[in-house]
């Protein structure tokens, strides 16, 4: 499975898509790499505010998601600025971090 994911990631990178797409299903945690990561949080977890997510994981620099052609973003600077939206399961988010972090939301 891990080998398959690695090949998949490399394939996507080859197609010129910046960042890393990770589809997690049944794992307890998801690895966020340094830089920009587009992730689908497909596992079940209790929704939480993005501000609280950044309190737990201060390595996260920004979280962005799009809904109804509108972009929502939150930046981990000055104590957190931007729309404090809810992180929910089964939505796609773009997360940037300045270092690798394991996200465990269960």
């Amino acid at each position: 499975m891990n080998k398959f994911l690695l090949i998949l990631t490399l394939t996507i990178l080859l197609f010129g898509i910046s960042g890393v797409i990770i589809a997690e299903e049944f794992k307890d945690s998801i690895k966020i790499y340094q830089g920009e990561n587009t992730i689908n949080l497909s596992f079940d977890f209790n929704p939480l505010y993005v501000k609280d997510l950044m309190i737990i994981y201060p390595e996260i620099a920004t979280v962005t998601y799009n809904e109804s052609n509108q972009e929502w973003g939150y930046v981990n600077v000055f104590g957190g600025i931007g729309e404090n939206f809810i992180i929910s399961p089964n939505k796609i988010y773009t997360i940037t971090t300045n270092q690798e972090v394991n996200l465990n939301l269960r």
Binding site: M1, F4, L8, I17, S18, G19, I21, A23, E25, G35, E36, T38, N40, S42, A61, T62, T64, Y65, N66, E71, G73, V75, V77, F78, G79, I81, G82, E83, N84, I92, Y93, T94, T96, T97, N98
Partner: protein, 398 residues
């Protein structure tokens, strides 16, 4: 398991175009030094290499993207030209109509999710605290007396202060205009609008935040008699400006000018001189009628002229006549003389003349002719000399 994973991957590919990368440009805008809050003002972001036409904006503070006092947050990826690592972007608080702006600040895009811009300070515009317009006569105040046929210097003095320091004030202009018939935006015209595009700024005045501004205007005698407004406009080094004005009354000016002596000539055998023409010029700023009277030696002496030779040395004032409306050239009989001309009198008599004041800046059109003749009795010889007194009286309809 593999089916679920494959389905997930397909879903990812389908929704991938919907999620775009974001890169935020964030920073603080400090309140202006006069206490005006930065919140609510608009900040603009653009790539100087592309031009300002491709720009993004945010409202500083809680109403903007940051939802936080004094902070802005702009996703530079939303620029039409996008933003890439090592791009230099520019930011500026733009004028919302209250003249509070900022200087430009640059930031270089890096690889991580956001970039922090150096603090920007909201620039307070210059503030004009005092304006006074008057001529050199301090009494009465706020009244300007023009000079016939000349210009009068009118001074507009203003005091301006700038929280950013007096040296931030780099230019001052003034407009002096008829507050009824003209306005600040009208073009220059000697009757109603004067411009001074480079007023003197005295940086020695007051404290380090104050300047004195002196705008001078050479106002022509035919400037309208109305309330006039002097508005001073002060601009700082960020092109923020403020203006303020003061009003003074330009008094009516009654004045006329005669460009020559009347020279009467008697043709052979005639008793009435040829018609002489005398041009009257309105050198004031109101429409005028004429008051006319005459004398030979001294006022009210009853004579038109005193002569050097002959049995009779004086010509009666009744014999000098004028026509203010029509010319009658050539020789005329005594009865025509009586009929077509009006007697000059010892005392001033106001006659309708309706000579309007000058309206044309390039040519003086405020000139009318008057026509004169005198009956010379046969006993008179030699040269004769007399006086006609012209007075200007304000005509109705002005």
């Amino acid at each position: 398991m593999k089916k679920v994973l494959a389905l997930n991957i397909i879903t990812m590919f389908l929704i991938l175009p919907l999620c775009s990368a974001a890169h935020y440009i964030v920073g603080i805008v400090e309140d202006a030094k006069d206490g005006t809050q930065a919140n609510g003002h608009t900040i603009l972001l653009w790539n100087p290499l592309v031009g300002m036409q491709d720009n993004l904006s945010d409202i500083i503070g809680p109403l903007g993207n940051s939802h936080t006092n004094n902070i802005y947050m702009i996703d530079c990826e939303l620029l039409n030209s996008g933003c890439n690592v090592s791009n230099t972007l520019s930011l500026r608080v733009i004028n919302n109509g209250d003249n509070y702006i900022s200087g430009d600040k640059n930031v270089t895009v890096t690889g991580f999710g956001y970039d922090l811009v150096d603090n920007i300070t909201l620039n307070s515009p210059p503030n004009i605290t005092y304006v006074n317009v008057d001529d050199n006569l301090t009494t009465p105040q706020n009244e300007i007396d023009l000079i016939p046929a000349e210009t009068k210097e009118v001074s507009c003095i203003a005091i301006a202060m700038h929280y950013e320091g007096e040296n931030s004030i780099i230019n001052a202009t003034g407009r002096f205009f008829d507050n009824v018939l003209s306005n600040y935006g009208s073009s220059e015209d000697n009757n109603e609008n004067y411009w001074n595009e480079s007023c003197f700024i005295n940086y020695s005045y007051g404290n380090s935040n104050e300047v004195e501004i002196s705008c001078k205007f050479d106002v022509w005698y035919y400037a309208n008699s109305q309330n006039w407004n002097c508005t001073v406009n002060v601009t700082d080094n960020l092109s923020a400006s403020s203006k303020s004005g003061d009003i003074s009354l330009i008094n009516p000016l009654l004045a006329l000018g005669l460009d020559s002596l009347v020279n009467f000539e008697l043709s052979g055998g005639e008793m009435v001189t040829d018609e002489s023409t005398l041009n009257v010029t309105n050198y004031g700023n109101v429409k005028i009628n004429l008051s006319l009277s005459g004398y030979a030696f001294e006022e009210n002496d009853g004579y038109a002229m005193n002569c050097s030779e002959g049995e009779i040395r004086n010509i009666s004032l009744d014999y000098e006549k004028f026509n203010l409306t029509a010319t009658n050239e050539g020789s005329i009989s005594l009865s025509e003389f009586e009929q077509k001309y009006t007697n000059l009198t010892s005392y001033p008599v106001v006659k309708k003349f309706d000579l309007d004041y000058r309206k044309d800046d390039s040519t003086n059109e405020a000139i009318n002719e008057t026509y004169w003749r005198i009956y010379v009795p046969s006993e008179i010889t030699g040269n004769c000399q007399g006086n006609i007194i012209f007075g200007a009286v304000q005509a109705q309809g002005d």
